[in-house]
């Protein structure tokens, strides 16, 4: 993983270790697969949470991501870092879930559709500040939110984010700048 934007949270290990893990998993080493999961489970959970996947869907989302990782390891060419590749899978899946939620939300306002009950809060995330941050992040567009989360929370560098999102680095900078401005604006509206 590109550590140029280093954050304080736990980060997956060096690139060489990742490559060795991938090779061992490809050779059928179950312990290596477990180690890979242990290394990336926390970032994946944190990432999908920050992208707005609700608590009741996070386990399924993480499972889908890791099953996709396992299936795809045979085709992983190592051109990108393993972490970038996993973030890309997780980002795509979180986006898919987000679209589904938005459509469900849209349908729930139709007169003949029964509204869904509010999901229960995640007991693991009682901190009101984090919940407030999630609400602020939800005000950003999905692309801006993803850039901000990858940079500010996951600690990826701009080039790596560009790789995850499939866009030029300048676009990442632009989205990041706008996302920050919008986040501050939304925060001021709430805190003042």
């Amino acid at each position: 993983m590109n550590q140029q934007n280093s954050a304080g949270s736990q980060r997956p290990g060096p690139v060489a270790e990742d490559r060795a893990l991938v090779e061992r998993v490809r050779n059928g080493d179950a312990l290596a697969w477990r180690a890979l999961y242990e290394r990336y489970a926390q970032p994946v959970f944190r990432f999908v949470s920050a992208l707005g996947v609700p608590p009741e869907e996070r386990e399924d989302a993480a499972q889908d991501v890791f099953v996709a990782v396992y299936r795809g390891l045979g085709q992983f060419r190592g051109e990108a870092q393993l972490s970038t590749w996993i973030y890309r899978i997780a980002a795509r899946h979180a986006s898919h879930l987000g679209r589904r939620r938005r459509m469900r939300s849209f349908l729930s306002i139709l007169p003949w559709h029964e509204a869904e009950p509010e999901p229960p809060p995640d007991p693991a995330e009682r901190a009101s500040e984090l919940r407030l941050l999630d609400r602020l992040l939800a005000k950003l567009s999905p692309k801006k939110r993803m850039v901000l989360v990858l940079f500010e929370i996951e600690g990826l560098g701009v080039n790596e984010i560009a790789n995850v999102m499939g866009c030029p680095p300048n676009t990442v900078w632009s989205r990041l700048r706008h996302a920050r401005a919008e986040l501050v604006k939304a925060a001021r509206r709430i805190t003042t």
Binding site: N5, A7, G8, S9, Q10, V25, G28, W33, R34, Y37, A41, Q42, F45, R46, S49, A50, R58, E59, D60, A62, Q63, D64, V65, F66, V67, A68, Y70, R71, G72, G74, Q75, I89, R92, H93, H96, R99, R100, M103, R104, P111, W112, H113, E114, D122, A124, A127, E129, L130, L132, L133, E152, I153, G155, R180, L183, V184, A187, R188, T191, T192
Partner: protein
């Protein structure tokens, strides 16, 4: 680049601290362990080459199709309702008390999500196994249940009684037994496998037994048996009723055997491939041709035309017509209820409330015991309010 930079500003200071807290968010350790157990169960015994080449990276159009399908399902199905996926098992019920009632003495209760290893029962032993999609299976003594390469439950030996809740529109639940694949939408049935033959007995609903391109359809009260080796020449016996319990191997007469679907089955497969490749017009033409044939493949094609028209070609009215044609041609078809629900759902989506209300009321009359009854009844009540009836 460090941000927020103006930490003297209360808002940016708060943002800085909260983002740092978000970076340190470790999540729920128990949740991560639970997910690992599910992944391990799903992937145990599988080597990478078997899984190679599939990922979440679907082409954009396919993604859109899936999204539309998900929307369709979400619209009609409660959000918590499990859906059957042959590859990815979601959470499975911890209890399978509903899998078989009244229940005999059961010494094992197994969840597929916790272990994909074969489930074996010994002498005098029975087991209940929770499957994806809310289904359950009860294994009799001296039986073995495993999962095949496509992650379908597979009866290797002995007797098994399956109870499958009604599947989401378009979804099928499949069980393999020797060279046969048994597909259902929602039903209760028994599968027996001994040294030289596979037998199926239908307690409720409709099932199809497939071997390659050939198939036979069984309805409530039917029993069927086919050889494991050599060419399939199975027979079907129709009896007025069934008692619960183990499968009985009664003498089988010369009733209908598997129907050759050959070219039609192949065409159906090609149509699905075309749809997956983003060629819905081609898929529709193939389905239309296939639907003119006979047998289950023709019936499936007639139903799937509606889905392609609605979900891929955005022609909901034409889809309703296609499903209406299906109902005319296959009034008691396996997918009849699915066609009824699809029409109801589609009419609702296009805002034809009066026609949707007619469909809802017809559904309630036709399927008084459907597990979707409450859902459709609520919808009918809303539609009555909306139409002033």
């Amino acid at each position: 680049m460090k941000w927020p930079t103006h930490k003297s500003d209360d808002t940016e200071k708060w943002l800085s601290e909260t983002l740092e807290a978000a970076r340190q968010r470790t999540g729920d350790e128990v949740a991560r362990r639970r997910v690992w157990a599910r992944i391990e169960g799903l992937l145990s015994g599988k080597s990478l080459p078997l899984l190679r080449g599939r990922s979440l990276a679907l082409p954009a159009l396919t993604g859109a199709l899936v999204a539309v399908a998900v929307v369709a399902v979400l619209w009609m199905v409660p959000a918590t309702r499990p859906t059957h996926s042959p590859v990815v098992a979601k959470r499975v019920a911890s209890s399978v008390a509903s899998a078989s009632q009244p229940g005999p003495v059961v010494s094992k209760v197994v969840s597929q999500g916790s272990s994909a290893a074969p489930v074996r029962t010994g002498q005098g032993e029975k087991a209940r196994v929770a499957l994806v999609g809310g289904a359950g299976v009860e294994l009799d003594a001296n039986s073995v249940l495993s999962w095949d390469a496509e992650r379908r439950p597979s009866v290797e030996r002995g007797q098994a009684r399956f109870e499958v809740p009604h599947q989401s529109p378009g979804a099928r639940f499949a069980v393999s037994a020797g060279p046969y694949v048994i597909t259902v939408v929602g039903t209760k049935f028994h599968v027996g496998v001994d040294d030289d033959r596979v037998s199926v007995e239908v307690e409720q609903g409709v099932v199809e037994v497939w071997r390659g391109p050939r198939s036979v359809r069984l309805v409530e009260g039917d029993s069927w048996a086919g050889p494991i080796r050599g060419l399939a020449s199975p027979t079907v016996e129709r009896r007025p009723s069934l008692a619960g319990g183990a499968l009985r191997h009664s003498s089988l007469g010369d009733s209908p055997a598997l129907v050759e679907n050959g070219p039609a089955s192949l065409e159906l497969t090609q149509a699905r491939t075309a749809l997956g490749e983003g060629r819905p017009e081609d898929a529709l033409a193939m389905l239309n041709h296939c639907a003119k044939g006979m047998g289950p493949a023709a019936e499936n094609a007639a139903y799937e035309m509606g889905r392609v028209l609605r979900d891929s070609l955005q022609r909901p009215r034409a889809a309703v017509t296609a499903w209406a044609n299906y109902r005319t041609r296959f009034p008691n078809g396996l997918l009849r209820a699915e066609a009824d629900l699809s029409i109801l759902e589609t009419l609702g989506r296009v805002g034809d409330k009066a026609a949707a209300l007619d469909e809802a009321e017809s559904f309630l009359v036709r399927y008084p015991n459907s597990e979707r009854r409450d859902e459709v009844a609520k919808l009918a009540a809303r539609l009555r309010g909306a139409t002033g009836q």
